[in-house]
């Protein structure tokens, strides 16, 4: 029997290729993402191992506030500590380190890098030493307040050369420097596509951070003692009130690698979620191909049964085929995945998320995972069709048709409806107040129900969708319509991947448009001004608070208020805290104060977001203790609550920072123009002021609100990119099914050609069948996707998402696209259909 199975595989090469194709695609994504993640991790690990290669000890502040998403804000340390460390026995070299926001302006006056997107723009200290990875490639090292060096890539991009004057934007504003050197980083021109402006230590501290302060000290020893011993000695000489900690080179390497690792882990999880979605979609295609091939072999199998093969032998012959296809397909998929991972890097690069180019890492776990998962999935997908093949009655050998004809059963309808009802039940229970986690069951129930019900609804829906084709494309349209409905199970299985892909795309789009709508309406309501200055500096500082006060003084301006953002520890956890000037902000930006006014915000009071206050059980008069980044603590009294969204949960008065060394910046400045000044005039002067200052961007109200939804668009782009692979699998699924149908309908096609159907008409028929199938999936996907989007938005209502917006234009776009997909998927199968040899087709009895 195994011989028969193997003969069966080799005998139908086309079928083998098509079945394997489904497996290859499903597993390629799986292997591609794991290879990609592994390569990425390895690249960063290597990068940091390199960065700290010669570092034996590392001194930094022990004061740190950790906020969400692994962000942390660490205090800086005074530069005087460098001299103390240098005197320690066994230390050969010490290097002050600083990394902060800086932006280099190219010779054409345009700042290098992009605002808020792409690789970061940095500034730091240049110092020739054993531990520094920077070396001067051209010119000399910068010395004094007027000299700077830039990395080679930036010099090239900005058309800057030694001897030029270069404008650089730093924390202290924008300034012109003499470009005295061009530096290279290790053996690359710039690390990971970031731009770097380098200065001597005093200049870097003053211009980029705070005079006399640095991030850390990098230390190299003479190797007379172990790194641990060296670190211990260093730690001893550092005064305890300097609040520092000393790490060994190995420790800081490991810590940095872990930090990046956990940031990447999120990305890795995201990737694997989507790769499993793609694999799930692939399962449908595999299942479909096996079902069709079982149906096509019905007569052959019946004949085998008639001459004495047992049910089990028929079933196991098919399972043997599945195992072979599974192993071969996953192996090829594994290799294809490696190519895919390279493609993924290219895709991210296109989104200007530049990655350091490292070698390729193919972990053995990825290989075993792909092979095992691929084979099991194939086997599992073939199980049902194989069992069905075994059940073929020997009498079927005598029958004329080898086509699946069984219509959907009643049991199917009942099961499907039961799942859908249960799913809707869960969802409505949640809307009525049950726990949100039940939504997951609800969604799953509806999806499974719809998939089970697919064959039942496929026929009527396909007939309905095919109506225009039948009406306007004459007999070819009629045939296409009937073809798509003649085998409802097959049509349903073929359109299921499209359905899943489309529903996810629609749900994500609905979610995104709801978020954008929310941001839009909230800001429109809150923002009473005309202009805003916005900045995105990767958490490295922001706009100097003096800019807001300067703008407020301008005659063209009625008022301007900066919105500051700091992190502080509350109950031991890092939190974002907004800081405002209550008199400036009143009338310009309304955070939705409830039963209180800005006037109540003194330097010892705090406003709390209503939902947060409720959770913490705080009322007016409760006290809150905040620990700032410099280590000092202060107690605040809750002065009132606010209900505005899109701002942090706490608001304090900026005057709190007066006379302290707490670093604070504005993330936005809101501006109201004077009444007698025209919008254009106000814009002109403000624009000049902001440009002169060198940081931030002046936007009008509309532009500002749109810029706030920019992040959503970026995330949306990434998710679309990942879902795109599922969509590709869905398209290939359609292609495979159409091809198998074309093979199956050889005779019919031969007959049609004999009685006068032109090749063009054959093509039209296949094309419309494909379009109808694709539209069927799209329509079901859109309906379910909108439902799913609504459910997700509902689940996020506590996060402040209160309105659901329907993505109308995207929905229309998806319908158009699925039409296009139908046309494209049909190209090859239609061509094959026109190549049918009429005589051969008629001869096969």
């Amino acid at each position: 029997m195994f011989r028969i199975a193997l003969k069966g595989i080799l005998g139908r090469k086309a079928r083998l290729v098509l079945t394997s194709l489904a497996v290859i695609l499903g597993t390629a994504f799986l292997s591609g993402t794991s290879v990609f993640s592994a390569t990425l991790n390895k690249t960063f690990d290597d990068l940091f191992a390199d960065v700290f290669k010669n570092v034996d000890s590392y001194v930094r502040s022990s004061q740190v506030i950790e906020a969400d998403f692994g962000q942390e804000e660490r205090q800086r340390i005074p530069v005087e500590l460098v001299d103390l460390v240098a005197k320690v026995d066994g230390v050969t070299s010490v290097t002050p380190d600083l990394q902060a926001f800086a932006r280099i302006v190219g010779s054409d006056g345009k700042p290098l890098g992009s605002d808020g997107q792409g690789p970061p723009t940095f500034g730091g200290i240049f110092m020739e030493s054993d531990v520094s990875l920077w070396t001067i490639a051209e010119g000399k090292a910068p010395v004094g307040p007027n000299q700077a060096a830039v990395d080679q890539a930036s010099a090239k991009a900005g058309k800057l050369k030694v001897g030029d004057t270069v404008k650089i934007i730093g924390q202290a504003g924008s300034r012109e420097f003499d470009l005295v050197g061009i530096a290279s980083y290790g053996d690359v021109r710039s690390p990971g596509g970031a731009t770097f402006a380098l200065f001597d230590q005093p200049t870097a501290s003053e211009f980029l951070a705070k005079p006399g302060f640095i991030d850390a000290i990098l230390i190299a020893g003479d190797d007379s003692v172990s790194d641990t011993e060296l670190s211990r000695r260093i730690n001893e000489v550092l005064p305890t009130d300097s609040k520092t900690e000393t790490l060994t080179g190995a420790e800081i390497t490991k810590e940095t690698q872990d930090q990046i690792g956990s940031a990447l882990a999120f990305f890795g999880i995201l990737l694997s979620v989507f790769s499993f979605i793609a694999l799930g979609v692939g399962c449908f295609v595999i299942y479909n191909v096996f079902s069709i091939s079982a149906a096509q072999r019905q007569r052959e199998n019946a004949l085998l049964r008639a001459i004495g093969a047992s049910k089990r032998q028929i079933t196991s012959a098919m399972l043997v085929e599945a195992v072979v296809v599974g192993i071969v397909g996953s192996a090829v998929g594994m290799i294809a995945g490696i190519g895919l991972s390279q493609g993924l890097s290219a895709m991210l690069r296109a989104l200007s998320i530049d990655l350091p180019s490292g070698g390729l890492t193919v972990p053995s776990s990825a290989i075993t995972q792909t092979l095992i998962v691929g084979t099991i999935v194939t086997l599992a997908s073939a199980l049902l069709p194989a069992r069905r093949a075994g059940k073929v009655p020997p009498l079927a050998a005598m029958r004329d048709t080898a086509i699946e004809t069984a219509g959907p059963s009643r049991k199917r309808s009942i099961f499907g409806l039961a799942f859908i009802t249960a799913g809707i039940g869960f969802v409505s229970a949640v809307t009525a107040g049950a726990d949100t986690s039940l939504l997951g069951f609800g969604i799953l129930g509806v999806f499974i129900g719809v998939i089970i019900l697919g064959p039942v609804i496929a026929r009527p829906v396909a007939l309905f969708l095919g109506r225009p084709a039948a009406r306007f494309r004459g007999v070819t349209g009629i045939m296409a319509r009937q073809n798509s409905a003649r085998n409802p199970k097959r049509t349903a299985r073929t359109s299921s991947p499209v359905f899943i892909g489309v529903s996810l795309v629609v749900a994500v789009t609905a979610l995104a448009s709801s978020i954008k709508g929310q941001i839009d309406s909230v800001f429109s309501e809150q923002f009473k001004g005309d202009f805003a200055v916005s900045i995105d500096s990767f958490g490295f500082g922001g706009l100097s608070p003096s800019l807001a006060t300067d703008i407020a003084k301008m005659p063209e301006v009625a008022g301007a208020a900066g919105l500051g953002l700091i992190t502080a520890k509350l109950d031991g956890k890092g939190q974002y805290i907004s800081a405002v000037d209550p008199t400036a902000i009143a009338g310009i930006f309304d955070v939705g104060l409830v039963g209180t006014t800005y006037a109540d915000l003194t330097d010892s009071s705090i406003f709390v977001k209503d939902t947060r206050a409720e959770k913490k059980d705080w009322t007016k008069g409760s006290t809150v203790n905040l620990t700032f980044a410099n280590g000092t603590s202060q107690t605040f009294t809750v002065a009132g609550v606010f209900d505005g969204e899109n701002i942090s949960d706490y608001i304090i008065n900026k005057s709190v920072f007066e006379g302290t060394n707490i670093v604070n910046f504005d993330t936005s400045i809101f501006i109201k123009k004077a009444e007698n000044v025209s919008e254009d005039d106000a814009r002109a002067v403000l624009d000049k002021t902001v440009k002169d200052y060198g940081q931030g961007e002046l936007l009008n109200k509309r532009e500002y609100i749109d810029s706030r939804s920019g992040n959503v668009n970026q995330l949306l782009g990434l998710i679309y990119g990942l879902l795109f692979l599922s969509v590709i699998i869905a398209i290939v699924g359609i292609i495979i099914t159409l091809l198998l149908s074309v093979f199956e309908r050889q005779r019919e096609l031969g007959l049609l050609r004999a009685v006068g159907m032109t090749r063009q008409q054959v093509r039209t028929t296949v094309r419309w069948e494909s379009i109808i199938t694709s539209l069927l999936g799209a329509v079901m996907g859109i309906v379910l996707g909108i439902g799913l989007g609504w459910v997700i938005v509902f689940a996020l209502r506590d996060q402040g998402l209160t309105t659901f917006s329907l993505p109308v234009s995207s929905t229309i776009f998806i319908m158009v696209m699925s039409f296009v997909v139908g046309v494209m998927a049909a190209i090859y199968p239609a061509w094959r259909a026109t190549r049918v040899d009429i005589l051969n087709a008629l001869a096969t009895n």
């Binding site: 007999v475 070819t476 009937q482 007959l751 004999a754 006068g756 090749r759 008629l842």
Partner: protein, 246 residues
Amino acid sequence: MTSPTLTAAASTSGATKIYGKDDSVVYALRDVSVEFYSGQFTAIMGPSGSGKSTLMHCIAGLDELTSGSAIIDGNDLSQMKDKELTELRREKIGFIFQSFNLVPTLTADENIRLPLLLGNNKGNEEWIQKVISTVHLNDRLTHRPSELSGGQQQRVAVARALASEPRIILADEPTGNLDSTTGAEILTFMRKAVDELGQTIVMVTHDPVAAAYADRIIFLADGHVVDEMTDPTAERVLDRMKSLGS
């Protein structure tokens, strides 16, 4: 009774068809020159493998002759491209095969009109109605092939072959799959189509009784035309077949 007024609806001259290459060549047709006259019912007979189907296919433009020519209604098939051949089949030729004549997704009515529908041609409605009533299909028009008996399916096939008023109808063993009563019914219809509707039919058959419905029989053996008979009866055909040694 070959009268000089007869004109050829289709003809071949020196038709030769060779299959295969080198040592394994098969001569399916050797220098066949025949004429099929308008308004006549011609049967082609001969032992299995004698080239009957091949001859039909070459006349229909479904297959290419190795040498010689096939002409339908004045058109030399060897000079025509695929698209022209397709249109020729659609407009000038009607087909009836042994089985699997109908498109399963179309109704009987749509199947009958299929060549016309494919050509975006309304056809002659009066004629179509006449054909449909001649083959007694009026009450079966909305049914799909799977809902029709084998005999009904063949009747639909006959009606389809007639619907576009072709120059010639080619039938390859149209009754081969039917019992004798149903077969007789179909043959009667074909006879009627010639006598009453003035059609031209060429039919391949193994059955002397079926062949007796024809006006003229052409005997093939080994790719050659070996004999011809006009106004046949079943006994004469049987005798002739015996003498030809098949």
